[in-house]
């Protein structure tokens, strides 16, 4: 098992004829993902890396039975593309696009909620179920199948931690890059719930960062509902207040959103919090070996 995506997932790529869309379609195919269709308005009838291109999502779904989407459409057209995927009932809809206005993100997330489909992102690296399916832009070679589920607000830090797990001989069930924006479709609580029900996942790793309260909400959920061990890392202990640290959502506003508050909340919920990214793999190894942590 795994969460969100597996070997049966049939992926449609929106914006497949663009530079990023075409490049990452090739990487997804190499990974073994079943990329069945692409959509670029006005380019229907073309092919990209052997994948047929359609003008609309509706047509692509009818022709190929696509079940999920990966969105590379530029920011100003992205929310329209996502709403088109929502209407078609695709899930998950993985939104790679960066710089989508927050008012657009609010509308997209609400539409998905009403339709009962999952949006991952925006501004995210995607979802990878090791050995089964990758939707997005994570590097292919890092992953090995195994017992660790990851949910992360940061892309590169996810790669760093996945690589160190794989080096330590520990594989992954599913890794989810949730995205760095203030409003995102899927966050820690939803993923903790999914990992909790996934028989393959034995340990959950959360990678958080400054800004918002997603880590505090995760801590409350873990305390009340999660029975599997959780390891966390939170970036931005030294970040100054009021400055956006790269991600639109990574900003301490007033006293809200500090790394310290997040770490304390997670620790109070029994989560083993790593001080450095490299410690995540050793904490997970200890847990898998049945040794106590913290």
């Amino acid at each position: 098992m795994s969460i969100l995506v597996d070997e049966t997932t049939r992926v449609l790529v929106q914006g497949i004829t663009g530079y990023q869309g075409a490049f990452h379609t090739a990487r997804m195919l190499e990974f073994g993902t079943r990329v069945v269709a692409g959509v670029t308005p006005g380019r229907g009838g073309e092919w990209v890396h052997g994948v047929p291109v359609f003008d609309t999502v509706e047509e692509a779904v009818q022709a190929t039975g696509a079940t999920a989407s990966c969105v590379f459409v530029p920011a100003r057209f992205a929310s329209d593309a996502v709403l088109e995927a929502v209407e078609a009932g695709l899930s998950p809809i993985v939104v790679i696009t960066e710089h989508i206005p927050v008012h657009d993100a609010i509308r997209m997330v609400e539409a998905a909620r009403r339709r009962g489909v999952h949006i991952i992102g925006p501004n995210c690296p995607g979802v990878t179920s090791a050995g089964k399916c990758k939707i997005g832009i994570m590097p292919n070679h890092l992953f090995r199948p195994g017992p660790v589920g990851l949910a992360s607000r940061s892309g590169t830090l996810t790669y760093e931690i996945v690589a160190s797990l794989t080096r330590a001989g520990i594989g992954q069930s599913t890794a989810v890059g949730m995205g760095g924006d203030p409003v995102i479709g899927t966050t820690f609580v939803e993923l903790l719930e999914a990992f909790g029900q996934d028989p393959q996942t034995e340990v959950v790793v959360l990678v958080g960062e400054i800004g918002g309260a997603a880590e505090e909400e995760a801590a409350a959920y873990i305390r009340d509902f999660v029975r599997k061990p959780v390891v966390a890392y939170v970036a931005g202990r030294t970040a100054p207040p009021g400055k956006r640290m790269g991600h639109a959502g990574a900003v301490i506003s007033g006293s809200e959103g500090t790394a310290q508050a997040k770490i304390e909340a997670l620790q109070a919920a029994g989560v083993a919090v790593a001080e450095l990214p490299s410690q995540v793999a050793s904490l997970v190894a200890r847990i898998l070996a049945g040794r106590p942590v913290g």
């Binding site: 008012h103 830090l157 890392y233 931005g236």
Partner: protein, 368 residues
């Protein structure tokens, strides 16, 4: 991006939100020519907070006094920001102060309307000391903000009669500002009652930088430092900090954790710089150039985990930039061997382990 108070108030006027009669000046000599009723309040136009405490808000009863005060304020630097403009407004006799704002509720993933009968102080402070006086309405994204919701909140705040009706109108106009401008925050604090009428005495508007394509007429972001603006031109995300170890990495989370590592081993980062995903060697060269422009930088620490970013591109950028300070590099991932070869040819080496590299960067800063 934060707008200045005077810009926000100009906007408010076009939406029918009452503000004091005012003018913006850049020179004290402009004051005698203003047709405003005394006393006047003079307010430094800066984007940092705490200008009142810093003496950036002053009252003047005569033109002579106003000129003198304006001169003083225009010479000020408030928390590192030089005052270039002063907003001159007709002072009002404040009877009561309220608070209202629309902002993004990240947890609800919706807009939220926040109001309080206790204005004039920081809303976080009110929420701590008098949570029962903070009223929140989370907005349905498809319905938007409805007039009755404004009246409901006004009534809960204890408003009646003309004040209740006026408050609801102002709240609705403020909602329009928020939506029309793609704002992350629109705030009136205080919304004052003066001579029986409500007036926005202060105004804060933070617009979403990502929505700039819908608002081509927006002013330039004045909050950013010169280096931060320069970085933005090359699509680099740069934040100036106060230490002596310049930091460059790929990915916001990785760079933040790199700053944390530097601090963990006892060093002080000079900046945050994220070259982004798939950075070209050109972007990397600019990144090195920008972080080394900051005075007082002793060491450069580059931490790259190549995914879509290619190590050979990064290495070429570093070599082309020829950093003039000791440079510690951690380079792993896509095309790593080629990247290392390029560095070695230029007489540079790279670490594999980020923590080992961070320790070296800190030690090197201590030595130099």
């Amino acid at each position: 991006m934060k707008l200045h108070e005077y810009q926000a108030k100009q906007l408010f006027r076009t939406y029918g939100i009452p503000v004091q009669r005012d003018a913006v000046i850049e020179h004290p000599e402009e004051i005698p020519g203003l047709s405003l009723r005394y006393p006047l309040v003079l307010k430094a136009q800066v984007l940092v907070g705490g200008r009142g405490k810093a003496g950036g808000i002053q009252l003047a009863r005569t033109p002579e006094e106003a000129v003198e005060r304006a001169r003083a304020i225009l010479g000020m630097e408030i928390r590192g920001e030089r005052v270039r403009r002063v907003l001159v407004a007709e002072a009002v006799e404040i009877e009561q102060e309220h608070y209202l704002a629309f902002t993004v509720d990240r947890s609800a993933r919706r807009l939220v309307f926040v109001a309080s009968s206790m204005g004039g102080v920081d809303i976080e402070e009110i929420a701590r000391t008098h949570p029962e006086l903070v009223h929140k309405v989370v907005l349905d994204p498809l319905e938007g903000f409805l007039p009755f919701q404004a009246r409901q909140v006004a009534r809960r705040m204890g408003l009646r009669g003309e004040s209740l009706v006026q408050f609801a109108q102002i709240a609705h106009a403020l909602y329009r500002v928020c939506v029309d401008l793609d704002a992350e925050l629109v705030e009136i604090n205080p919304l004052a009652r003066a001579e029986g009428k409500l007036v926005a005495v202060d105004a804060k508007v933070v617009v979403d930088e990502n929505a700039r394509f819908r608002h081509p007429d927006l002013p330039e972001d004045e909050e950013a430092t010169e280096l931060e603006r320069m970085a933005r031109r090359y699509d680099l995300s740069y934040v100036e900090l106060s230490g002596d170890i310049a930091v460059i990495g790929n990915g916001a989370g990785l760079v933040m954790s790199t700053l944390d590592m530097v601090a963990h081993f006892g060093g002080r980062p000079a900046n945050f710089l994220d070259v982004g995903g798939g950075a070209s060697s050109e972007a990397m060269r600019h990144a090195v150039d920008i972080v080394l422009r900051k005075p007082g930088v002793r060491v450069l620490f580059i931490n790259i985990f190549g995914g879509i970013t290619r190590c050979d591109d990064i290495a070429r950028g570093i070599v082309a930039a020829r950093p003039a300070v000791p440079t510690i590099i951690r380079l792993v991932g896509t095309n790593e061997e080629e990247g290392r070869r390029i560095l070695e040819e230029a007489g540079m080496a790279a670490f594999v382990d980020p923590e080992e590299a961070a320790r070296h960067a800190v030690a090197s800063a201590r030595r130099s």
